[in-house]
């Protein structure tokens, strides 16, 4: 018994010591870029450099490869350390590439190799990815941190979404909805979050939602917490070009699903509790609260209805109407599940909104 234990101890110490991955000798890809340049697939890696002699803190490597994994082998040729993907924070895909190719096949290695991080944010970049990867912004931290912070904080304000690789995979795999991801671009030399990119059920880029439309996508997806802020014009109420800013603090979004006359019918009932965060317009809220509420409700209804029209036009369903169809009208759903985008395009969607002002703000 004792001899066996001793043998086990010795054996333990003999087994693979060469497996370690020392932080010092790694080239950790923190931001992975994918783009196309006339038929060629370009893959970019941005990784931090930990060396006092290096002038730059970030190493950017560009290679031309047929796939991500092949790209990594090529990156290894350039990188001073071993190229690893365990800490990837962002996967940035050029819009041009996303339009051309179905991206799930490109991202396969990130899902298949367990050493890669699947919690990286998926971002569509409007423009050549090269300019983002090689951009040096003096007032920003390292690129990976800057991009991640930008998306995460903007997503809190609902002007974009945060979608990591797992979210993307789940929404792609689910037949009842289609994937979406955050979108970025550069303006005046600075990077900015730019709404939401929508994909079809094969994972091909279809269209984008602007930062102003994205909050209403989130509302439809019941992602209300912590708040959905937006600004509306009060011309209808005061006759002047003035603003009032409100934010939806809590709300209920209910879906009613029916199948009539060979098509699905969805009725979306939104009950929103809003607070007024800014009032430029000259309105006595306490007197005109009912009218104001109606106006807010109308605004929400117009925006959401337009959004749904956009979805139907492009045969995509980022909200997940299909989930309700599957839950309540399974038999009919079963027939169209493989082409839900088309069935959804033919569906009737009506939205009705009730808004209630729950606070005028601290001064009123």
């Amino acid at each position: 018994m004792k001899a066996a234990a001793l043998l086990l101890c010795v054996a333990l110490f003999l087994s693979g010591c060469g497996m370690n991955t020392k932080l010092d000798s790694l080239t950790m890809t923190l931001t992975l870029g994918l783009d196309t340049d006339g038929g060629k697939l370009l893959s970019y890696s941005s990784s931090p450099v930990f060396n006092k002699d290096a002038k730059e803190h970030t190493e950017v490597i560009e290679v031309n490869a047929s796939s991500l994994r092949e790209g990594r082998y090529k990156i290894d040729l350039f990188a001073s350390g071993r190229a690893v993907g365990g800490k990837i924070q962002n996967v940035v895909i050029g819009k041009a590439l996303a339009k051309k190719k179905e991206i799930p096949s490109l991202l396969d290695v990130l899902y298949r190799d367990p050493k890669n991080s699947t919690t990286a944010l998926l971002i569509v970049y409007d423009g050549p990815v090269k300019e983002l990867m090689e951009s040096k912004q003096k007032d920003k931290p390292r690129l990976a941190v800057a991009i991640k912070d930008l998306i995460m904080t903007t997503a809190v304000d609902k002007q974009t979404v945060k979608t990591n690789l797992l979210d993307f995979h789940r929404t792609l795999f689910d037949k009842g909805c289609t994937p979406f991801a955050s979108e970025m671009t550069r303006k005046n030399g600075k990077m900015m979050a730019n709404g939401t990119a929508l994909f079809d059920n094969k994972g091909k880029y279809v269209t984008s939602l602007s930062p102003k439309e994205t909050p209403f996508l989130q509302l439809l997806r019941k992602e209300i917490k912590p708040a959905i802020p937006f600004t509306l014009r009060t011309a209808a109420l005061t006759g002047k070009k003035e603003n009032i800013s409100v934010s939806i603090e809590h709300g209920k979004v209910r879906y009613e699903t029916r199948y009539r006359n060979g098509r699905f019918q969805f009725h979306v009932q939104i009950d929103a509790g809003v607070i007024i965060t800014e009032k430029i317009a000259d309105i006595d809220i306490s007197k005109k609260q009912k009218k104001l509420e109606k106006m807010i409700a109308h605004e929400i209804k117009t925006k959401t209805t337009a959004l749904v029209k956009t979805f139907q036009h492009h045969h995509v369903d980022p909200v997940g109407f299909g989930l309700y169809a599957r839950a309540y009208e399974y038999d009919h759903w079963k027939k169209v599940e493989n082409d839900w985008g088309k069935a959804f395009a033919a569906a009737d969607v009506s939205v009705s909104v009730k808004a209630k002002v729950i606070s005028y703000g601290v001064i009123h």
């Binding site: 370690n20 932080l23 923190l30 930990f50 924070q89």
Partner: protein
Amino acid sequence: MWIPSSLAEVEATIQATWGETPDLVVCRLNVRQLKKDVVLLYLDSLADKNSINNNVLQPLLFETHDATNVEEVAVLIGQKKYTNLWSEVETAVFQGESVLFIDGEQQALLLDTQGWPQRAIAEPQVESSIKGAHQGFIETSGKNIALIRRYLPNRELKVKELVVGRRGKTKVALLYLEDVTHPEVLKELEDRIRMIDVDAVVNTGELMQLIEDNPFSPFPQFLLTERPDAAVSNLLQGRIVVVVDRSPSVMIAPMSFIAFFQTIDDYSTRWMIATFLRLLRTLAFFIAIFLPSLYIAAISFHYELLPLNLILTVGESREQVPLPPILEAILMELAIEMLREAGLRLPAPIGQTVGIVGGVVIGQAAVQAGLVSNIMVVVVAITAIGSFIIPNPDMSESVRLIRFPMMIVSSLFGVIGMAIGLMILVIHLACLESLGTPFGSPFAPVRFRDWKDTVVRFPLWTMRSRPLSAHPIQLKRQTKTRK
């Protein structure tokens, strides 16, 4: 050998027994009570001169009433013993007693005139406490027993005295509550102490090592304390207190692992605070063992473990460090251990210098020179503080030692190695015994009722029974007095 009856022979025997003993006093007097010559024998250095002069010599010389035999000799000493064995005379003299030989008598009179140099009772140095008593044990077992008796004026408190060591003849006293302590546990301890056959037991720590259940374990299986209140609190739980003469710490047996993380202050502070402090100590225990190895594992194997911002900070701080993480860690850990050891043995005024040198050299220079990283310094510092929080010095030292194998294992196998290390540690702790009682109690074996007084401390009135770890024969400690 019997005591000879003629004084001349006695003197010859004394001469033969104590050749080179300048502090031996042999004093021949004529005693009026007996109308006989006597010889008074004592060791000047161990006996109390005042007591001999006033309580022995004075009555012997001036008392006029008649005495016919040894028993009737009037001396002003309460504790008198008679013997006719020479070996007992020897022992008595060496323990500071004085011996009175009377001409023509076979029996000698042993008088308790002990008075050797001893320290005053002072605040315990190693285990200081905020609310506990400020009396610590000293080097005289009689005084130590007195300190304990003050807390328990109870006839169930028994003292069993044994003698250990051929030369040292150390008095070892076993204190226990007869109606609480399990007799088998007591017998086991007594047997083990009786089996000891050594020259001398200089300190309680030596005795502890001679009778431990598992001498190859890094963990202490008995508790050494210099606090009478801690000793009494353990007595009340059915444990046995071993007072070793000439040693300022007493040994408590049997012990359980978790008791090493408890202090007497825990019971005198409010229960929420005590619970918080105990949780803190438990956390400190794990930090002290695992933090450096976790650092090594994270940097050498599992960079994915660290959040992005932390990994960037760590990476930047390691920019100019030439050593691999394991060497960096061992270097720093050894440095801090050396500092500790140096500070421990140095007199207080020089001790400060060590602190400054250590702080400046390690904290500043090593980092600036690029030998170690900032993060490593932080890790080492937190680890050191973690090990200092553990209240028992023996346990704290064990923890500091275990850290090194953990670091090596984690540098070889990363978190897997740490997990294996932790498992071995847990298995070892679950297997350990203290005087045949489970060391891991109440966790291994699981005794839910005793969890009230472990890493949490329930309010005192809810702990109505004594913990089972020492197998007390009387379980009930108190009645329910509050809701």
